[in-house]
């Protein structure tokens, strides 16, 4: 298919484009009709750059040859969206300086959650959900929040079983502080994390009668992947890991839980964040044979045995690649990242730098190869609108799209990419846009520029068509945020 010549636009000289002309829309419609080529908005013209893909006949035209497009993709994948000013700052820094800034900037701490002082952590989960989303919406270091969300889905726990929202709050603070450190330290932390001790039952396991829940998921989901250890290893490390208990509280509060019946309960109060404590009386006294080694083994010994396994670094690297680069990373790419990661002693900064500077990260094939998770989609949308007060809506709307923070579907955390799409979730994504626009009072940022700022100026024929027909700014924002382009990153 030949390139269609760029069409001149009447007001091409004007610095502010008024939108897409009717003639261009027709050109776009023709492109749809013949079933080839996505439309690319470039400096006031539409070019129909044909691009044939094997299955569907149409693919996005990658703009990643331009550094500005690479910077925008980097931001989409490492942040929760941006305002025009944030984008301009990154564009003037350029790609490699932006990578440095992402990796080297210390995470901004969220405000203290006052409810966390509630005895027994008995405050409503919406409080902690809105607290986190509120921080996502306003933080100057969104990459720290993206990593916190990644680890929340990896070393996952949920509020239902943990049944103490103070512990969930601590776990969230932990991943923000530790998310870019090293996995050896993180594994020790997650093993003794109070929420995790409850979530996977290690707090009630004993050497004499071990509970296998944590032992299994530590290997299957956190470090090595199924098939790289035996059932006997699960049993043996269940023994070796037993003995951890919840931290003792600083004091006990007597709380009235039912005023009418005068029912009171004694609940723990903590003055500061704590980790679990080890009780040798509950531990296993003998030797174990674990991952090929026989002898007495403590928790650090179990973790070091896991870190010595060949499967561990590629397993974590693959998960990072699927989250940040492509849904189907090649085995050689994963192996390369895994090598770098292992040689760095599981240093996350080294791994993430390798990811962001790898050719795969900015290859044309990576363009729009990932789907935004519901949280990313919604926060990005709200930030694009400059609406920082939508945390309540974002929390409420998440469940219909399959993502409630602090409440993952299971111990495997959240899925990636295609698994986010169903007839239910697409409707809920659109409904979020409708409600977000309804709740955003006052003036919106200019939508004229939105397709360029948030969609790289690369839009499909249908989106171009609807943007053209949009009678006002709100409709144009609706089309932009509800479009398939905006669901991708």
């Amino acid at each position: 298919m030949a390139l269609r010549a760029p069409e001149p636009v009447a007001d091409a000289a004007s610095p502010v484009r008024k939108g897409i002309t009717r003639r261009q829309a027709l050109a776009a419609a023709v492109a749809t009709g013949v079933g080839v080529g996505a439309v690319r908005l470039l400096g006031g013209t539409i070019q129909n750059l044909s691009h044939t893909s094997a299955a569907n006949g149409m693919d996005w035209v990658s703009p990643l040859g331009r550094e500005s497009a690479r910077v925008m993709q980097l931001l989409r994948r490492t942040s929760f969206g941006y305002t025009r000013a944030q984008l301009d700052a990154a564009l003037s820094d350029g790609y490699s300086k932006t990578v440095d800034r992402l990796l080297e900037t210390k995470p901004a701490e969220p405000p203290v959650l006052a409810a966390a002082a509630t005895p027994g952590g008995r405050f409503g989960v919406p409080e902690i959900q809105q607290w986190w989303v509120g921080h996502m919406l306003t933080t100057p270091t969104p990459f720290a929040e993206r990593m916190t969300l990644f680890w929340h889905g990896h070393f996952t726990s949920d509020y239902r079983k943990t049944a103490n929202n103070t512990f969930m709050y601590w776990q969230n603070l932990t991943w923000r502080r530790m998310g870019m450190t090293d996995v050896r330290s993180m594994l020790m932390q997650v093993t003794t994390d109070p929420a995790m001790l409850r979530y996977l039952d290690l707090a009630t396991s004993t050497g004499q009668s071990p509970n296998e829940n944590y032992s299994r998921e530590l290997m299957e989901l956190f470090t090595m992947g199924a098939g790289n250890y035996s059932e006997e290893d699960v049993r043996q490390s269940a023994k070796a890991l037993a003995g951890w208990q919840q931290p003792p509280p600083d004091s006990i509060a007597t709380v009235t839980v039912d005023k009418a019946k005068m029912v009171t309960q004694k609940l723990p109060v903590y003055n500061a964040q704590r980790s679990g404590i080890f009780n040798p009386r509950r531990a296993y006294k003998g030797t174990v044979t674990y991952l090929g080694h026989t002898g007495p083994l403590d928790t650090q010994g179990v973790l070091d045995a896991i870190l010595a396994q060949k499967a561990t670094a590629p397993f974590i690297a693959a998960k990072v690649a699927q989250h940040f680069v492509t849904s189907q990373p090649s085995p050689s790419y994963v192996a390369g990242l895994g090598d770098t990661f292992r040689r760095s002693r599981y240093d996350m900064k080294t791994l993430m730098r390798a990811v962001f500077t790898s050719p795969e990260f900015t290859a044309d094939a990576s363009y729009r190869a990932l789907l935004k998770s519901p949280a990313e989609f919604m926060v990005h949308g709200a930030r694009a609108l400059g609406a920082t007060s939508l945390s309540k809506l974002i929390v409420a709307a998440g469940s219909g799209m399959g993502q409630s923070l602090f409440d993952p579907p299971d111990v495997n955390g959240w899925p990636n990419n295609a698994a986010w799409v169903s007839s239910n979730t697409v409707v809920e994504r659109v409904n979020f846009v409708t409600l977000a626009l309804a709740q955003t009072k006052g003036s919106l940022p200019s939508a004229t520029d939105a397709a360029r700022t948030h969609l790289d100026g690369v839009v499909g024929p249908q989106t171009a068509n609807l943007l053209n027909q949009a009678p006002d700014e709100r409709t144009r924002w609706f089309v932009t945020l509800a479009s398939p382009e905006f669901q991708l990153k």
Binding site: H51, N56, N211, A226
Partner: protein, 432 residues
């Protein structure tokens, strides 16, 4: 990860070719449906009947997390149970509802017990597969794909949709109720299915105007996710229109209640999901395969009350569902079957719970069922090397009977092999 395989091979469902009202274009969808609701329902149903053996319906209930078979169908007379489970065995045996001399149902399954008394409940004992995995996710995938060798990617019900029914995109032939994602059992790149989390809120805020705009926006979407998106939106629009019709004509004839205390980690409202299933069945939408989930069965700790509560919740939801179907004269068409990725360890742990196990019983409920116990009871004294119950019946024997006997589908084509028969149906529709 596995869900990603082949996503770029997904074919665009061609709704235009289905020959229904889609020819009017997205903008005409809502208006067209609203104007001729009955004609639409009839047209869909008639179109779907082509190529279908019968109008039977299957409802699969997933008991997610690994249901404790020993606490579902309780061995009443085996003393070993008390040695293995000093904390858990006593109450579960003394309170059980006896079915035979040796077995009783969990005491909270009273509604299902009364269906048993009417000959409408079959229990297949000792169901599993060789070399069991104790990973939730691997075992779920095995049950969903019907393939213990883990090569198959598509779900067994998805393959049924694609192979036995039209694969040309009638979205409501397969439907997952009460969830947001497509369950693995229903997944097949060549099949279209619907997901409805909550029927009351399913639809576009802003109504038909938004519906039309979104229909126009998601057409011919480029890229690897394009077909997936377009299909999901077209499916949603079709389903919204169908629900508009079916909701108007459906009156529940049973009391579905989700007022029970939900047990961790059930977040699914099972009763509401089954009520939606009933609505789809009794209003003639042409639905064939339904999937609902009740979570919370991963009872590693304090299992006693938690599992009893789950049984009670299952019982009340299924009882209401059956009653509703019967009152609408549809009970003879519907087979209800439970599944779970594994049973639990016969020996209890320090947390008053049980770890991941292997073989367990399945429940089959409904008028098409020939009531009774099938398979064979697993021995508590001859456990496998991991301390788990040995399986007696391959789970695909149960699938085979469902596919051939109830749905009239070619089970050999769908499962890729044939298995020993477990004749739990009164009148199987096809020779197996």
């Amino acid at each position: 990860m596995n869900k990603e395989i082949g996503i770029n091979q997904l074919k665009r469902r061609d709704f235009l070719r289905a020959g229904l009202v889609f020819g009017a274009g997205a903008a005409g969808l809502a208006a067209g449906y609203a104007a001729v609701p009955d004609a639409f329902a009839r047209a869909v149903f008639a179109a779907k009947q082509n190529g279908m053996a019968n109008d039977n319906v299957l409802v699969m209930i997933q008991l997610a997390g690994g249901n404790d078979g020993l606490r579902t169908l309780v061995p009443l007379t085996d003393p070993t149970l008390h040695d293995l489970r000093p904390k858990l065995a006593g109450p579960m045996v003394s309170q059980a509802l006896p079915l035979t001399k040796d077995f009783g149902l969990n005491h909270n399954l009273g509604g299902i017990k009364s269906l048993w008394d009417q000959g409408k409940v079959a229990m297949v004992q000792g169901v599993g597969y060789p070399n069991p995995t104790f990973s939730h996710f691997e075992s779920i995938r095995i049950w969903e794909t019907g393939d213990p060798t883990r090569r198959q990617v598509d779900g067994w019900l998805g393959r049924t949709l694609a192979k036995a029914y039209d694969s040309n995109g009638h979205p409501l032939t397969g439907c997952a109720c009460g969830t947001t994602d497509v369950p693995g059992a229903l997944r097949d790149l060549q099949a279209t299915m619907t997901v409805i989390q909550n029927q009351k809120t399913f639809g576009f805020t802003g109504g038909s105007e938004v519906e039309a705009a979104v229909g126009a926006l998601y057409k011919g979407t480029p890229g690897i996710y394009g077909a997936l998106f377009d299909t999901a939106i077209a499916t949603a629009n079709d389903t919204i229109a169908t629900l508009r019709t079916s909701s108007a004509s459906y009156q529940p004839m049973a009391d579905y209640t989700d007022k029970v205390q939900l047990v961790y980690s059930s977040k699914n409202q099972l009763a509401a999901a089954l009520q939606l299933a009933a609505e789809l069945i009794v209003t003639g939408t042409g639905v064939k395969l339904l999937h609902v989930t009740l979570g919370g069965f991963d009872t590693h700790y304090t299992e006693l009350n938690r599992h009893d509560d789950l049984m009670g919740y299952l019982d009340s939801a299924v009882s209401a569902f059956y009653k509703d179907l019967a009152a609408h004269g549809k009970a003879d068409k519907v087979l209800i079957a439970t599944w779970s990725e594994f049973g639990r360890r016969p020996k209890e742990n320090a947390s008053g719970g049980t770890d991941h196990g292997a073989a367990a019983p399945l429940l089959l409920i409904g008028d098409p069922v020939q009531g009774g116990l099938y398979g064979s009871e697993p021995s508590l004294t001859s456990l496998d090397s991991t301390g788990n119950l040995k399986f007696a019946v391959d789970f695909r024997s149960v699938y085979q009977e469902i596919l051939g006997g109830h749905l009239g589908a070619d089970s050999n084509e769908i499962l890729g092999a044939s298995f020993d028969r477990i004749p739990f149906l009164k009148a199987p529709v096809a020779v197996l």
